[in-house]
Amino acid sequence: MQKQQIMCKEIESFDFQSGGEASSNLKNILRKLGVNSDLVRKTSIVTYELEMNVVIHSLGGEITALISEEELEIRVDDVGPGIEDLDKAFTPGYSTASNEIREMGFGAGMGLVNVKRYADKLTIESSKENGTHVKVLIKLF
């Protein structure tokens, strides 16, 4: 089944004022499409964690959402600098965020852990040269 793009939004590095707007937009789009509220919440959490990762850790990126009758696909692509140690990034409590970021309530080292918890399928590729590319699938049924 072919997927239809329902959102594509640019995310700027360190933009804490607008950070979360893409996730908020997607939440509203999914509600309008009549997606069940548990799935909307699950998707919102995943998207928001990934969006804030782009804001906090990257030099900027993009979030794209696609939908088919069976599933929702969230793609988050940034331009770098990449995740140094992917295994560590999935360790609960591990974070490379600065004290300044932690004081804002982020950098708890639970972001990717939460994404993994709510995603039905998660793939992540990261390198210094090509940035980080995350793909999350959430089943709609």
Binding site: F16, S23, S44, F90, G105, V113, N114, K116, R117, L122
Partner: protein, 125 residues
């Protein structure tokens, strides 16, 4: 517990009460956290958040999990941007002079239980 009782117990000041405010709004569960990922780990709606953080991302986080009420502890006033975003999203804001531990303790004593965490087994990546 309803919203009026919550405000009385915490001696809470109103920062923003939006559309649909009702004294009888029922509070079923709550979480107290200063880490946004901890809030995002909770699974159910109709939750109250008690926090010491006051930046707009607190409201954004609440929006993502369907939290309707935020109480800022230790008498903290949120930033103007935080109140503006709450206004836009119709999320109610209050402030209490009580510290986080005491505020949570009072609510627990008067019947608000902990939120159930979502313990979905993570898939292999």
């Amino acid at each position: 517990m309803n919203l009026k009782e919550l405000k009385t117990l915490l001696k809470a000041d109103i920062i923003f009460e939006g559309q649909g405010y009702s004294d009888d709004f029922e509070i079923l569960n709550a979480c107290g956290a200063d880490l946004m990922s901890d809030v995002l780990a909770f699974s159910n709606e109709k939750t109250l958040l008690l926090t010491g953080l006051t930046n707009p991302q607190v409201v954004r986080t609440a929006e993502m999990v369907g939290i309707k009420i935020i109480v800022f502890v230790r008498g903290k006033d949120p930033q103007i941007e935080t109140v503006a975003l709450a206004n836009q999203l119709d999320i109610f804001l209050y402030s209490t002079a009580k510290p986080l531990f005491e505020a949570c303790g009072i609510l627990y004593k008067y019947g608000i239980g902990p939120e159930e965490m979502n313990y979905i087994e993570p898939p292999n990546i």
